[in-house]
Every structure is written in structure tokens, then in C-alpha cells.
Symmetry: C2
Subunit: 338 residues, 2 copies
């Protein structure tokens, strides 16, 4: 059996996460039992939610256990199978974690699914046609419930969730405005991802200043907001939201490290009669088939061209992850393992 490099969570962050929180080890891959499958990972997904799980705090998911392999989504290929459901060579998506191989109980519901790479590259099953894409779909369709002609805003617009959100919102006839960090990302959002406008939050020191540019980009106000970030960006967009606007709360990167970041103007929820709803896409498995079908079609027809930032080799995972938390990635952050 092959040697298996793994990244463990070695200790919890005191405030900001650092490379010293992680530890690289080399393990043997155990011999397969009946019903098990050995998967060689091609791509490892890095996602902001992982930061929250590094803390030992009450949250929707149990904390990442210390001394164990960092959990996370993976795509790869079955290299050995003792299950009738999979054969060597099958391309699969699962939750293999930050390691080169995983042994999976094939019968466990949702543990592993085969994917078709004819029209959709394997890596996209971790992004636009995977959990981030379905996240965008759920927030848009089930929480924001858009109507054609409305103005919708998404933060982290060039990220895996944001870019899918943009394509899904355009398909519904909405004016779609992104918020991203830096001129390169903003240009990409409008030139490649189909956003009608993109606001560069890095040009602004405070929410009041950023909010003025949001107003210019959203002359009719904001009817729906998909929030990936929190903090100053959320405050700035909230100031421009219309009566009965709806906000899907999906991420709070601004608050993952250390101190929580407040919402500065909660009274706007009242004065604008807003609805704010937090959600976790893994609790809504019933929408995945419908969402993945639409997302796969958007990617297959070139209407959604998600960008990826790819780090090479398992050793690079911690630094790539820390970069993601600082917005250094451009599009979906992956680690390529072979």
C-alpha cells in the first residue's frame, strides 16, 4: 500500500491561524476491508468554513479534532475497490481530507459519489459544480428568492461561491453587482464572470466610503445580498438595502480570526423590514440534485467560467489556506496532489 502524506491540526489558533497550527505526517494506508474503497486524491478543496472549525467553539459542526487529519472535500480516482459500487478508475468526489489517499466506506450515505468529467473538469466538482456552487444556489433561490429586474449583490464575488452566484443571478434576469478586493478581481468579475458592476472594497477605509460606491453601482438600491464576508463590507451594503430586502448569510471570514466583528447597524433590519437568514448548505441536501444540474449546465455551456487558484502538493495546503483567509486566492482555492 502507498505511503500517505497527511496534514493534521496540531494545535488551535490563539487568534489568527498560522502554519504552526498544522503538522505534516506520513502514514501507511491500511489494507482494505470488505466494502471499502481506496481513493487517490487529485484535488483538495480549501474553504473558509474550515477556519471556524479550527476553533473549539460551539458551532453548527463539531470542531476539527486535534491530532487528526484536517477534514475537507476532495476529488480523485478510485485506485482499489472492495465494493461492488465502485471500480478502479472511477472519478469520485468525497470528503477525504487534507491527505493524499483516503479509505472510504462505500456504503456510507454521501461519503463518495461518482462524477462525469466529459463536460465538467474534475476540479470543478469542488467548486462551481460542488458545495460552493450549491451554496450560492441555495442562498439565491431559497433565501433571496429573486425577481427579474432586481439588484443583487454578492461579496467575495470572484470566489467559488460568488462567481456561481453571479451566473445564477444573471440567468434570472437580475442586475448583479459584485464586491471584490483589488482592480484585477473586479475587472475579472465584469469581463469574465458577467457581473454588471464590481466594487473594489480595498479602495475604501470605512463602511461609509465603501457604501457610496455601492450606491453608485446600485442606483435602484439593493434587493438581495449574499454575504460571504461580514464586517465593513456587510455594513456598507446594508446601508443601501431596499425595503423588504433579503440577505443570505453564508460566511463571516472577517470574524473567523480572533474577535467577532459586529454588525454596526442592526436597526436597518427593522427600518427596512429586512429578512436575514443564515444557512448551512449541507443541511439542505434535498436541493443538491436540482442545483447541481443547473450549475453543471452553466459550466458545460460556458456561461459560468470559474477561475481557480491551484497550489501544488499536500505540503502547500496550510499556506494556501492561510492565503485564502486573507483573500490572496483568485477564484476557487485548490491543492493539486498529482
Amino acid at each position: 500500500m502507498p505511503k500517505n502524506k497527511q496534514i493534521l491540526l496540531d494545535n488551535r489558533p490563539q487568534a489568527e491561524a498560522t502554519a504552526a497550527n498544522f503538522k505534516l505526517v506520513v502514514a501507511d494506508t491500511p489494507a482494505l476491508q470488505d466494502g471499502q474503497v481506496l481513493v487517490r486524491h487529485h484535488f483538495l478543496s480549501l474553504d473558509p468554513y474550515m477556519r471556524g472549525r479550527m476553533n473549539d467553539a460551539k458551532s453548527y459542526a463539531a470542531p476539527q479534532p486535534l491530532g487528526q487529519v484536517m477534514q475537507g472535500g476532495t476529488t480523485g480516482e478510485v485506485v482499489e475497490s472492495r465494493s461492488p459500487k465502485f471500480k478502479a478508475g472511477d472519478k469520485v468526489v468525497g470528503m477525504g481530507g487534507w491527505q493524499e489517499y483516503s479509505v472510504v466506506a462505500a456504503d456510507q450515505p454521501g461519503a463518495l459519489r461518482k462524477v462525469d468529467t466529459t463536460h465538467v473538469p474534475l476540479s470543478h466538482y469542488l467548486g462551481a459544480v460542488g458545495m460552493p456552487g450549491v451554496t450560492a444556489w441555495y442562498g439565491l433561490v431559497k433565501i433571496i428568492q429573486p425577481k427579474a429586474g432586481q439588484t443583487l449583490v454578492v461579496s467575495a464575488a470572484t470566489g467559488a461561491v460568488g462567481s456561481a452566484f453571479g451566473a445564477l443571478a444573471k440567468a434570472r434576469g437580475c442586475r448583479t453587482v459584485g464586491i471584490a478586493g483589488g482592480p484585477e478581481k473586479c475587472k475579472y468579475a465584469t469581463a469574465e464572470l458577467g457581473f454588471d458592476a464590481c466594487v473594489d472594497y480595498k479602495k475604501h477605509q470605512d463602511a461609509a466610503s465603501l457604501s457610496k460606491e455601492v450606491k453608485a453601482a446600485c442606483p435602484d438600491g439593493v434587493d438581495g445580498y449574499f454575504e460571504n464576508v461580514g464586517g465593513m463590507v456587510m455594513d456598507a451594503v446594508m446601508m443601501r438595502m431596499n425595503a423588504f430586502a433579503r440577505m443570505a448569510l453564508c460566511g463571516m471570514i472577517a470574524g473567523y480570526d480572533g474577535k467577532p466583528v459586529p454588525m454596526s447597524y442592526p436597526q436597518l433590519i427593522l427600518t427596512n423590514r429586512m429578512t436575514v437568514e443564515g444557512f448551512i448548505v449541507s443541511e439542505h441536501m434535498e436541493v443538491w440534485p436540482e442545483a447541481l444540474t443547473e450549475l453543471g449546465t452553466l459550466v458545460g455551456t460556458g456561461k459560468l467560467r470559474p477561475r481557480e487558484t491551484i497550489a501544488q502538493d499536500i505540503e502547500s495546503a496550510p499556506e494556501a489556506f492561510l492565503g485564502l483567509l486573507k483573500g490572496k486566492n483568485f477564484g476557487k482555492q485548490l491543492v493539486k496532489l498529482i
Copy 2:
């Protein structure tokens, strides 16, 4: 025609509202035109929302105009009528404002409605069987959507909205926990209003401390929260909310004066997959008949015994209103005019 003492908004508050923002004048009551009714006000309603309207800020309602009579709910008696819909002696509820008399166009929808004082005292049509009661009903029934056995919390529990909320929640089989200021109000909440427990926020210096007492009062966590206050109280209750909890956002007294008060932990909306919804009861007139019927029955059968704080004479309205904003009232704050 009688002389009519009126309270005008003379100037807008710089930060905290003061008596100097108001001005007493004496006007003539004009002769009635066809279709008009002259109402002598018996009670004037004082409500927290009025503070927001004193500011010249974008909100759900236009600001209270300067130099005009302070707007607000009134009950009284028709003293002269040139409309076939009303006759002298009719008891009525309307929006007569801070003055002793008002001239009302009887045909204007919602301007004036007759009420029956057989089982419900006239003053309660400004409280439990009026706008505050319907506010509690809408937040509970339409936003929180309670199930029997759940734990519900309301802030400003002995106020007009809070006390109605308590009775409505008990009628649905919920554990009902109030938050109020001071031992006298808390004792009243449990002894007279039927709350299962009441937490005195004035015993606590910060949200963390208050939150511990909320936890003790809500051993199974909080499933629904009706927010009248904002600030520290909101933070403390949010820390105890369960997965999929629902929060109706109705008031933000803590933020009406001067600086907005932030929500300290918005990430809880995400981690607990909460729904937070702001609302204005006047935008949901379709529920008023159903809500008023239930509230009238609760009052008529003694299951809801709302307390009132009554100031005497129009001259006392500004001080009574400023006291309301500081929580000095106990139950519904009214001004009695005759």
C-alpha cells in the same frame, strides 16, 4: 368650537431627546366640512417608534415634520359629526396626535374606527387590543411561528407589546420568558402576566453576565425571540438561541438616541442558522381583524391584564414620553386628557 392644546415637534434631537424638542401651543378647532368628524381625545398613546420619527433620517415612515402636531394614536369620543358613519358619543380609535381634539375625514380608510367598550376599557384599544397587541401577535404568529413546548423570550416584557406577547405565547403552550428592568417589573411579569420566568437586565453590567441568567431561565435554549430593545439585551439572548431559532425585530430603543448600537455577534445568525426579520405592523393590516379578536378575548376573559402608566393632561406628554424611552413607565404609557 373649543380651544385645542397641541404639542408640536419644535426641533430635532441632537442626540438624546429632551423636553426642549417640543412646544405647546393652543389652536382653534376649525369648523367641520362635510364628511368630517370632531373627536375629543380621551387617551393619547406614547410609543417608542415616535423617537425614531423625530430624527430626519431615512426610515420606514417619513420623519415627523417640524412645527406640526406630534403624530400618534388616540382614543376618544365623537363630539360632532358631519359624516353619516359616526355620531356624537361614538367611542373611536384613530391617529389624532398629541392634541386634545382632532378633525378627521371619516371616509379616509383606517382613519377612525368605532370600538366597543363593553368588555374592553377604552384605553386598552391603544395597547393590548390595539397597535402594540397586534405587533406582538404578528411577530409571534407570522415570524416566530411557535410550536408548543418551545421557549420564547421577549424583551421589555411588561410593556404594551411584551405583555401581550406573553399571553399570546402562553396560549400556544410555550415556555415564556421575559426580560425587564428591575425586580418590581420582573415580579409583575411572573405574578400577573403569566411569564414562566423573568430576567432583570438591570442586575447585569454586560451581555456575558446577562446571558448566564438567560441560560438559567431557558435551560433548553431559546427558540424564538421578540426583540423590542436591541443592544446588550439582544446580544445576551442571541448567545442562547438554538439552531433554527427565529427572531422578530420590532424595536431598537437602545439605538434611538444618538449612536447606533451594534449587534455584537452577527456570526451567531450563521452558526445557528437563524432567521431575523424586521417588520412594521401597519404594513400587515390583513392580520388586524384576526389578531384583535384574539387579543380582545384574552383581555375580556382576564387572561391578559395589561398594566398602564397614565400621565395626566396634554402638558405632561413630553416628559412621559422621555420617561418611556428610559424605561420609567410600567406597562403601556398613556396620557389621559380628560
